[in-house]
C-alpha cells in the first residue's frame, strides 16, 4: 500500500476537492443557472463540432481509395514542390513564379506526389494506431486493475510494482526505447504504444474496485452466490468503467500524437505508406522554401486530435459531472 501513497494522496485530494465542488455547485447553480446552461451548450457545441470533424476524418480513412484524387505514392518529378491552390511560390530552383493549380489542391511534395491524397491515406494510419493501441492498452490495463483490486495480496503487489517501473519512464521515452530495440512497423508501433500506456488504466480500475468491493451491491451479489468472474464482469466492471472511458478518449488523442512523433523521428510505421508524422519530418527540410509541406500534415494531426479532445470533454461532462470543471 505504501508505494501507492503518492498516487492516493492526489486521489484523496481530488476527492476532497470533488466534495467541495459538489456543495459549491449547488450554491452556484441557483446563482447562475442561465450562465451554466449557456456553458453546457457551448461545451456540447464543441462536442458536436468535434464529432463532425472526427466523422469526416473517419470517412476519409475508410473511403480513401475513392476520395483521393491521385495515387498517394506516385509522383512525377516535373511537378514537384507545387504550392497549394490560390497561393503562389517560386518554381523549384528558379526565379519564376508559379501559381498553385486545382489539379493539386494542397500542392505536391518534393517527389511530386499529391499532398491531399497523402493526407487522406494518412488518416488511416493515425486512426488505426490511435484506436487499436488504446483498445489494447486500456483493455489490458482494465484486466490488470480488476485482478489487482479484486484479488489483492501478491497479485496486487506484483502488478502495482511492475506498474511503478513503467511509470518511472516518461511515456514517450518508453515508447522510443522499445521501438529502438524491436524496430518500427505498424504492428510494433501499436504494441509499443499499448505497452507504454496500460498502467494508468490499471490504477484507475484498481482504485474503483477497492472502493466498490465493500459496497452493498457487491456484498449482496456475493451473498446470493455470484462467482468471482460473474461478480467482476457483470457487477463491478460496469460500475467502475466510466473513468476508463473518459481517460481512453483522451488516450486516443495522445496515441495519435505519439505515433506521429515516432514517425517524425523516423521510428514509426515506416515503409511507403502515407503517414502524417513522416510527411512532417520530410517537410521540415523544406521549411524555408516550401512552407506547405510541413504545415498541412500538422494541421491534419491537430484537427484530428482536437476533435477527439472536444469529444472527450463532452463525454466527461455527460458521464462524470464531478469532473466538469477540469
Amino acid at each position: 500500500m505504501n508505494a501507492e501513497s503518492g498516487q492516493s494522496a492526489t486521489t484523496a485530494q481530488a476527492r476532497a476537492a470533488q466534495r467541495a465542488e459538489i456543495t459549491l455547485a449547488s450554491i452556484k447553480e441557483r446563482r447562475s443557472n442561465r450562465r451554466r446552461a449557456l456553458q453546457m451548450l457551448w461545451n456540447n457545441r464543441l462536442g458536436s463540432i468535434g464529432a463532425l470533424i472526427l466523422i469526416l476524418v473517419t470517412i476519409a480513412a475508410v473511403f480513401a481509395p475513392f476520395l483521393a484524387p491521385a495515387d498517394p505514392n506516385h509522383g512525377e518529378i516535373v511537378s514537384r514542390l507545387q504550392c497549394p491552390v490560390l497561393t503562389s511560390c517560386p518554381r523549384f530552383g528558379t526565379d519564376q513564379t508559379i501559381h498553385g493549380s486545382s489539379k493539386h489542391i494542397l500542392g505536391t511534395d518534393q517527389l511530386g506526389r499529391d499532398i491531399l491524397s497523402r493526407i487522406i491515406y494518412g488518416a488511416r494510419i493515425s486512426l488505426i494506431v490511435g484506436l487499436t493501441a488504446v483498445a489494447i492498452g486500456a483493455g489490458f490495463g482494465t484486466i490488470m486493475g480488476l485482478v489487482s483490486g479484486y484479488y489483492g495480496r501478491w497479485a496486487d503487489s506484483l502488478i502495482m510494482r511492475v506498474g511503478d517501473v513503467f511509470l518511472a519512464f516518461p511515456f514517450f521515452l518508453l515508447a522510443i526505447a522499445i521501438v529502438a530495440a524491436i524496430g518500427g512497423g505498424l504492428f510494433n508501433v501499436i504494441v509499443v504504444l499499448a505497452v507504454a500506456s496500460w498502467v494508468p488504466y490499471a490504477r484507475l480500475i484498481r482504485g474503483s474496485v477497492l472502493s466498490s468491493k465493500a459496497q452493498e451491491y457487491v456484498i449482496a451479489a456475493r451473498a446470493i452466490g455470484v462467482r468471482d468472474m460473474g461478480l467482476l464482469l457483470k457487477h463491478i466492471l460496469p460500475n467502475v468503467i466510466t473513468p476508463v472511458i473518459v481517460y481512453a478518449t483522451f488516450g486516443v488523442a495522445a496515441a495519435i500524437i505519439a505515433e506521429a512523433g515516432l514517425s517524425f523521428l523516423g521510428l514509426g510505421v515506416g515503409g511507403t505508406v502515407s503517414d502524417w508524422g513522416a510527411m512532417l519530418a520530410d517537410g521540415r527540410q523544406y521549411v524555408g522554401t516550401a512552407w506547405w509541406l510541413a504545415t498541412i500534415p500538422g494541421v491534419a494531426i491537430m484537427l484530428t486530435v482536437l476533435s477527439i479532445n472536444m469529444i472527450g470533454d463532452w463525454i466527461r461532462d455527460a458521464l462524470d459531472p464531478h469532473l466538469r470543471n477540469i
Partner: protein, 307 residues
C-alpha cells in the same frame, strides 16, 4: 515524517532497480550485441570471440546480475560510436543542457498558466474565460514537434528574430525551443489552475475576506491562490519530469544537443550502450523528481503521510 521519507526513499531505490531491469530486458530485445558491434560482415569466429569477451555466452541470469551491478555503479559498456568513451560520461555531459531547456520551459509554464488560469477562474463563463479555455483545448491538441516547425517558419525564417537551431543560453537560441516544449503542459496547467481556483473561490474564507472589505486582489492571490496551489505544486513538479521526456523531440527539431538528441542520434547510429545510458539517466532523473515532489507535498499537506 521521517518514517514517510524512509519509506518513499526505499521505494524509489526499488523502482530504480526496476528501471535497470527494464533497460536490460529492452536491450535484450534488440538482438545480439556482438553482431551489432562488429557489423553484419563479421566472420562467425570474430562474433564468437566478441560474445565471449562481452560475457554473452554466459547464462542470462549471470549477465543480468553483472549488468545490474555495473549499472548501479553507473557503468554501461563503452560507446560504439565514440570509441574509448564511457557511455555514461557522454550522457552525463549532455544532461545539464536538457535540464536547462526543461527548466526554462517550466518557468514559462508556471508564469503563463497561473496568470491565465486565475483570470479565467475569476471571470468564470465570461468571454475571456471561454477564449482562454478554447486556446487551452487547442494547445493540448497541437503536436509540439509541429508547433516547433511553425515557430521556426514564422519567427526565424520570416522575421529572423530567433535562431532555428543550436544550443546556447542566450534568448536568441532558447526562446523558441522553450515555448515549443512548454506548450502542452501550459494548456494542461491552465485548465487545472482554473478548476482549482473555482473550487476555492466559493469557500467561506474567501467570502469572509470579501465581507471584511479586503481588496479583491488580496482575496484572490493571498487567500484563494494559496489554498488552490497545494495540488498544483504536485502537477508542476511532475511536469518538470515530463518535460525532460518531452525534450527528446524538441531537441531534435532545434538541434539542441542535450541528452534527448543524443538518444535519437545514438538510436540512428545503433550505438546501444549510449542509448541505455541516456534512457537510464532520463528515467532516473524522472524518479528522483517524483520522489522530491512527493516529499514536498507531504511537507505541505500532512494528511498525505497517514495514507
Amino acid at each position: 515524517m521521517t518514517q514517510y521519507i524512509i519509506r518513499r526513499v526505499i521505494q524509489s531505490i526499488f523502482v530504480i532497480l526496476g528501471v535497470i531491469t527494464a533497460v536490460f530486458i529492452i536491450s535484450n530485445l534488440s538482438g545480439d550485441p556482438a553482431t551489432l558491434i562488429l557489423g553484419p560482415n563479421a566472420s562467425a569466429d570474430a562474433i564468437h570471440a566478441m560474445q565471449e569477451r562481452l560475457g554473452l555466452n554466459q547464462p542470462l541470469y549471470v549477465q543480468y546480475v553483472k549488468f545490474l551491478g555495473d549499472a548501479i555503479r553507473g557503468n554501461f559498456q563503452q560507446s560504439l560510436q565514440y570509441q574509448g568513451h564511457s557511455s555514461m560520461n557522454i550522457a552525463l555531459t549532455r544532461f545539464p543542457r536538457t535540464a536547462e531547456l526543461a527548466g526554462a520551459a517550466l518557468i514559462l509554464e508556471v508564469v503563463i498558466s497561473l496568470t491565465l488560469g486565475i483570470i479565467a477562474a475569476v471571470k468564470r463563463y465570461s468571454m475571456i474565460d471561454n477564449i482562454v479555455m478554447f486556446i487551452a483545448l487547442v494547445g493540448q491538441s497541437i503536436p509540439n514537434f509541429w508547433l516547433g516547425i511553425m515557430l521556426i517558419l514564422i519567427f526565424s525564417v520570416n522575421f529572423g528574430w530567433f535562431s532555428s537551431q543550436g544550443y546556447s543560453l542566450s534568448p536568441y537560441y532558447f526562446v523558441l525551443p522553450a515555448i515549443t516544449l512548454a506548450a502542452p503542459p501550459i494548456a494542461r496547467l491552465t485548465r487545472l489552475t482554473r478548476s482549482g481556483m473555482l473550487d476555492v473561490l466559493g469557500e467561506d474564507y474567501v467570502r469572509t475576506g470579501r465581507a471584511k472589505g479586503l481588496q479583491e486582489r488580496t482575496v484572490v492571490l493571498g487567500h484563494a491562490l494559496k489554498n488552490a496551489a497545494i495540488p498544483l505544486v504536485t502537477v508542476i513538479g511532475l511536469d518538470f519530469g515530463r518535460l525532460l521526456g518531452g525534450a527528446i523531440i524538441t531537441e531534435q527539431i532545434f538541434e539542441w544537443n542535450g541528452v534527448g538528441q543524443l538518444l535519437v542520434s545514438s538510436i540512428e547510429a545503433r550505438d546501444f550502450p549510449v542509448v541505455q545510458a541516456a534512457v537510464f539517466i532520463i528515467a532516473a532523473a524522472f524518479v528522483l523528481i517524483n520522489l522530491v515532489v512527493d516529499l514536498l507535498y507531504a511537507q505541505l499537506d500532512p494528511r498525505v503521510r497517514l495514507i
